[in-house]
């Protein structure tokens, strides 16, 4: 794989997506939602205005966990099940399928990141103007984590698109994946946890977090915001299990990286054997 075609494909994908109304619409909606949540989160502040940054961010976190996977899946599926004629011309060029996938993924990611970053920036400015810059680094780290989540679901959408090939089928599958990771997985994990007991239960619970990129980002964000204490003793146990909070974040980020790379790598492998 060489860099140059990846770059050119990424740039074209970005141009297409930025000119696409959807990127703008997503940016505006995301910006309004994030800002709104942060804003109303602050209005609802209690009588002494404590925990500003962490709580606002925790509310934003909730939104991020719902919206970003959905948007990434939708945009990825849309792009990767795009017009056949366009794909045929592209893949007939002297490029590898891995280069095409990487390029398109990066271009898409850049466009999603652009809209997300503007949303986060607006909210960030607002939060800082209200409660000062003391949580800024955590907020930046949180933004990076959210971008990571976007990439993971982009990667998953590529796999889905590769497997399903047809647009409608891919969308159905993507929607299922969204539902699964955002909701069903956790319900399942909670259910199984209740069936287990003692140390098996805890081990399962800790490990199950890594099986869902949404949980990975949720837990890592809360640790970064230094609000892992809201998990109470469970949080302490988790941190001890993972080896301290720096180590925990490292492990979680590694898990997120794996989640970002593996589906895409699998998609490349499948696509190599696929016909157009």
């Amino acid at each position: 794989m060489t860099f140059s075609p990846v770059f050119h494909i990424a740039r074209q994908e970005l141009t297409v997506n930025v000119r696409n109304k959807w990127t703008l619409i997503f940016a505006v909606i995301f910006g309004i939602l994030v800002t709104g949540i942060a804003y109303f989160g602050m209005i609802a502040e209690g009588f002494s205005g404590m925990q500003n940054f962490a709580r606002s961010s925790a509310s934003v976190l909730n939104l991020v966990l719902y919206i970003i996977p959905l948007v990434s899946l939708a945009m990825g599926t849309l792009s990767f099940t795009g017009d056949k004629g366009s794909a045929e011309l592209l893949f007939s060029q002297p490029v590898l399928s891995s280069e095409v996938i990487m390029g398109k993924a990066l271009g898409l990611f850049a466009s999603i990141a652009l809209s997300m970053a503007s949303g986060f920036m607006v909210a960030g400015i607002m939060i800082i103007s209200k409660s000062g810059p003391q949580g800024l680094t955590s907020y930046l780290a949180f933004t990076v984590l959210s971008l990571g989540l976007a990439f993971v679901f982009l990667s998953l959408s590529i796999l889905v698109a590769t497997l399903a090939r047809r647009k409608s089928k891919a969308f159905g599958f993507a929607l299922f994946l969204w539902f699964f990771f955002v909701l069903f997985y956790d319900i399942l994990a909670i259910g199984i946890t209740l069936l287990l007991s003692g140390s098996t239960m805890n081990l399962f619970l800790f490990l199950s977090l890594f099986g869902n990129p949404v949980d990975v980002v949720r837990v890592a964000s809360l640790i970064i915001f230094d609000t892992a204490t809201i998990f109470g003793p469970a949080g302490a146990a988790l941190l001890r299990f993972l080896g301290g909070s720096a180590m925990s974040v490292t492990l979680l980020v590694c898990a997120l990286l794996l989640w970002a790379i593996l589906p895409m790598a699998l998609a490349v492998k499948i696509m190599r054997r696929q016909d157009f």
């Binding site: 925990q51 966990l65 997985y185 977090l209 949404v214 809201i230 109470g232």
Partner: protein, 454 residues
């Protein structure tokens, strides 16, 4: 007449005299003084350690410094009815087991007031000392030590009927450590940045009034005590993995009213604590407002405001026999979504205090890791949608639809400055901040449109 106000003689030492005698002679001055005399000590530095072995009134003028040897206690009060006022006391010993304190009191009816204690292991230590008054002292522990290696700010052991008020304590292990010390009156103290603001065992019939315990690992741990009155205190921002505003372990027949318990991990924690009454408290923005072991029975909650807590109640075990209302008045819950048709101020629909997720958390505490996950919210909704899944045994049948007006809580006036700061912030600022962002979007869009028309 109170014993500590008796002054039988005054020995005024001119500063010139003191200097000629050298600065290490405070102890010899004490030895030469008659019992009942008052010694005015001018500003300067004096060597410790000092032992007060006759009834004396020691008054520092201009904050004279008494510096200990670094071994034992800097000032030891051995006889009754002494006064130590206005000194800077520093450099005590290092031994926890030897009660190495700034001021060690082993007698009764003394007054320890307006002193600054710094670089000390314990601040003021009442060792088998009754009827003393410790007030308006500033106590700073040894910040460089690990929490566990420090001593307490004010330590009471086997001491009764003392009054502790107006002290300001930080950087020690426990703000107050009170063991076997009944009938203590604790008022208007301020404790922050310590392990337990208040560590409290085997001490009955005490009164807490207008104290604030902030930014500690735990606000107060109250254990094995009866008949305590906790009123008008603030327990704020006590955070950590196992932190709480107040922990009650085996405490009975207390009255806890008009306190503010906010922004703690767990607001109030109960284990084997029964028959306590909680009234007119503000319990707000805690991760969990209440955590109760099922062996905590017969506690009564009435007319409290539960506001914006992530979880109102975690029950460890099956259920508690808690009474959530008294005299037809329950509590205000900010998460209550019922209605009040008859306009009597009491909601017509009972308040189910726990949702399904919180209930499950009681069974498997580590499930809390799923807090903030959409699944946990789904559980909460599901329990409402499908009554079959309704597990609620903790129900407030008389929920109040409006918060109880507690704006006149004494503690709120003490907290006023920090409150004002936050409420003053201009609400329109965020909107102004959002405008340029939206502007960027619109301009970007227009630019793009324009280019496409070329």
């Amino acid at each position: 007449m109170r014993p500590w106000s008796v002054i039988s003689a005054i020995a005024v030492l001119a500063s010139g005299q003191m200097e000629s005698q050298g600065i290490s002679n405070l102890q010899s001055l004490i030895s030469n003084a008659q019992a009942g005399e008052t010694i005015l000590v001018p500003a300067g530095e004096y060597d410790g350690n000092i032992i007060i072995d006759k009834k004396l009134i020691l008054i520092g003028l201009g904050s004279p410094v008494i510096r200990g040897t670094g071994v034992g206690s800097v000032i030891t009060v051995k006889v009754d009815s002494c006064v130590v006022r206005g000194f800077v006391v520093e450099r005590s010993g290092k031994m926890l087991v030897d009660e190495d304190a700034g001021i060690l009191v082993k007698s009764d009816y003394n007054v320890i007031e307006d002193n600054v204690l710094q670089d000390v292991l314990f601040g003021v230590y009442l060792f088998g000392a009754d009827n003393n008054r410790v007030r308006r002292n500033d106590i700073r522990g040894r910040k460089e030590l690990e929490l566990g290696e420090r001593g307490s700010g004010i330590h009471l052991w086997n001491s009764y009927d003392n009054i502790l008020d107006g002290n300001d304590i930080a950087d020690v292990r426990d703000g107050f450590y009170i063991q076997n010390a009944s009938r203590t009156h604790i008022e208007r103290n301020n404790v922050r940045g310590v392990r337990y603001g208040l560590h409290y065992m085997y001490a009955d019939s005490n009164v807490f009034l207008l104290n604030s315990f902030t930014d500690n690992v735990a606000g107060a741990a109250v254990m094995y005590s009866r008949g305590i009155r906790i009123r008008n205190n603030a327990f704020l921002r006590n955070r950590g993995f196992a932190s709480y505003g107040i922990l009650f372990q085996d405490c009975h027949d207390m009255i806890v009213d008009s306190n503010v318990v906010a922004d703690n991990n767990i607001g109030l924690f109960f284990e084997a604590s029964r028959n306590n009454v909680f009234q007119h408290n503000i319990i707000a923005r805690n991760d969990a407002a209440l955590q109760m072991f099922q062996n905590s029975n017969g506690n009564v909650f009435t007319e409290n405001n539960f506001i914006d807590n992530l979880s109102p109640l975690l029950v460890v075990g099956k259920k508690t026999e808690t009474r959530w209302n008294r005299n037809d008045r329950g509590n205000y819950w900010s998460s209550y979504d019922g209605y009040d048709i008859d306009q009597d101020g009491v909601g017509d629909v009972p308040m189910k205090i726990q949702n399904l997720f919180q209930y499950l958390e009681g069974k498997a505490p580590h499930l809390r890791l799923y807090l903030y996950s959409p699944a946990s919210q789904a559980f909460a909704v599901a329990a409402n949608a499908f009554p079959v899944m309704n597990i609620n045994t903790e129900v407030d049948r008389m929920p109040l639809v409006k918060p109880v007006d507690l704006s006149k809580l004494g503690i709120l006036t003490l907290l006023a400055p920090s409150r004002g700061n936050h409420q003053k912030t201009n609400d329109s600022v965020p909107l102004f901040a959002a405008l340029p962002g939206l502007g960027i979007f619109v301009i970007g869009y227009l630019v793009m449109k324009r280019r496409s028309r070329q």
